[in-house]
Amino acid sequence: MLANTLWQIGPRAQSLNRQKSLLLKTIAVLLVVAMMLPFLHLMLRALGSDASTWEAYLRFRTFSTLISTISLAASVTLFGIALAVPSAWLVCRTDLPGRRIWAILLALPLAIPSYIAGFAFIAALGPRGFLHQALANLPVTISFPGITGFSGALFALTMITYPYIFLTTAAALQRLDPSFEDSARVLGLGSMKSFLFVTLPLLRPAITAGALLSSLYALSDFGAVALMRFETFTQAIYVQYSSSLDRSLIALFGLTLVLVTVLILWLENRSRGKSRYYRLGAGAARRKTVALGRWKYPSVALLSLLAMVSLGLPVANVLYWTLRGTSSEHLDILDLAQRAFNSVAVSSLAAAAAVGVAIPITTLTTRRKSAFNTFIEAASYSGYALPGIVLALSLVFFAANYASFIYQSLLLLIIAYVLHFIPAAIGSIRTSWLQLNPHLPESAHTLGHGSTSVFTRISMPLLRPGIAAAAALVFLSVMKELPATLLLGPTGFSTLATSIWAFTDEAMFAPAGPPALLLLALASLPMYFLLPRLGSQ
């Protein structure tokens, strides 16, 4: 009798699970469709180009711009690695004084938008900058041409993107089982050699993950390169968008940029190889720290210089604008508060939406391997392949033609943010899922809890660090985001980022100070969630 009753409960419970699985799959398919729309639009537009468009495409310095764009992204990444990896090692593995503080200071430049950094570096290190003038006043002649063009863009972008590599590398160093290094030492390698031949190869997946973020940032940046007067593809697209009416040409440029991004993703995937993820060991072995000895002060000096340039200069510059502004101009507190509210509101909404989409998708894709899941996962990363400006243009086109009711609405802007930044959110939550011991939810099931209870009481609390980091990353990125906000924001909608851009575009630096200062402060808050126990014992 009892068996019979259970026969009836059983299949119902199963169909319930099937329904949940179906819901997850529906969300995943919707996201993939949304992500494919911009690609589709670019394709259609590009196919619609006539001979004159192709002529314009080839006449425009396409090839040389492509080369300079790629060399910029590559150089930014290489310099970033050179700065970030030794810094991460110093912070995580040595007896450097104040390691926790260094970890924060070196990660904070992530909160600085490239256009703010660009202005600061021009003012300090540019051809007529502070350093140039100081050197000119010296009795001896020291030639310093100042940074501009390629060198300027490279410098500015390196200073604000090395924290990506620093964060991923430091997190991996923190997790890495030190017994590998110990084994190398026992086998007779010196500490330098064991770092080069054992630790560094083990860190490669993490370094590559950070390098991917920084190279894609360099590729799609448009603030710093515009200020440094260095022509890249992203900038060319923006110029074309604001001056020309040939949308097919823009689509061709966009596709070219997408191709470069796909190439970078392919390189990253190859470099990462099989050692994609590593689980945390059962017991965290006590980490031994390397005594720096007489290298202590040089190390502190180097890190101080890095922090002072990458963080100190932009902050000082913004402070200078602000102080000069309040003395000479009237500061509209209400207006500023409104913009800050707009910034925080869209950033929070985008962060919540991105996490809301990323959780079901990662739940699905990390559960078991299937062709469908692999496809969803690959598709969800394709957001990386769409530079913000290309994505924004596609959405403008899509909304204007097919969904006019969301054109110029906040909804469209949030959709753009989610599509643009979802890969970072998925990456962060996915890593947490992969580090979650599958026996924990399984134990909960055998203790009589259904899927919903297991998810809310076991999985969610354990995924929380990954979810918080994902939300923080999206929040931070949206706070700084410029091209999509400029193109998709409703008329009259202004955020801190767009108002800084608007003021500085007309060379009004004093009024740009307060919003810039506020932006830096607000964007640094979520850094708290991105620095899990870094530098602490």
Binding site: L6, W7, G10, Q14, A282, N437, L440, G448
Partner: protein, 342 residues
Amino acid sequence: MSNPALSCKNLHKRFGNHSAVDSFNLNIAKGELLALVGPSGCGKTTVLRLIAGLERLDAGQIDIGAIEVANSSFSLPPEKRSAGMVFQDFSLFPHMSLSNNISFGLTEHKDTVTPSSNDHYLELVGLQGFGNRMPHELSGGEQQRGALARALAAQPEILLLDEPFSNLDVNLRSQVREEVTQIIRASQVTALLVTHDIEEAFSVADTIAVMMEGTVGQVGTAETLYSTPANEEIAHWLGAANFLDAYCDGTSAHCELGSVQLQRECHGRRRIMLRPEWLSLTPSSDGNSRIIHRTYYGHDQMLEIEMKSGPRLLVRALSADSIQLGQEVSVVATNPATTFPV
């Protein structure tokens, strides 16, 4: 006759092209502690996961008590089965105190829960006063007992233990093994323990099932399995064994060792099996063998001898016996041999 506490009928499970469980049959009586042993990769853990409902059957049927929980077309979800599981890594929820871990399983039986339930299970496993500790504040053995308390608190019909002692230090293992076995016996729960450690199975279980390549090769008590294994593979796997070709004529066999007693009457050409401790040797200048290798264990020693007629044999001797490498000895069988077909 009452139903067995667990019955597995003809279970099949494939992963891709690999057949993990193949025609697996097993019954466990109520209150019995059964150890499922087998080499790594033989499918033991998959069987546990099938019973717990963490994997789905391809074919066969599983009953827990009188309830059919799985067959090829239907699978009761794990939370609806009365099967508790203790994992190899203990899997205490790291974000909950030990008490909360234990009451996590109690919540589904609200009507029977009293405030003292939690303490009762803590006491059962000897962890009184540890309720407020977080899992990382417990030692390996304490985590092990905590996981056991959590599983028992849910009052399962059957308790499944997956290699529960393999994550413990060797010097801690036998002690924890003893404690855990006593707790299981005290709570009178039916238990199925999976292990690859034959010594562990021998010392803990009432009944042992030997699993080879996805199926049960033999079920029986430790003594039966050790002295009368079902085939040569199991004989090898359960401990060191000597095999000799022999000709049987009823109660004795004729082989290199001369005439050897047989456990069961048998006729014709056979292979006979003798465990190393079923042989005895005495130093003798014109013995039939010579010592070629010696491994000393303290309480006893294992000697490898080469018979003058060719075969090599393993002999277990007391460590007190003074024996030199290269010494000539004569070997005789002191226990009756098991026979296998040629």
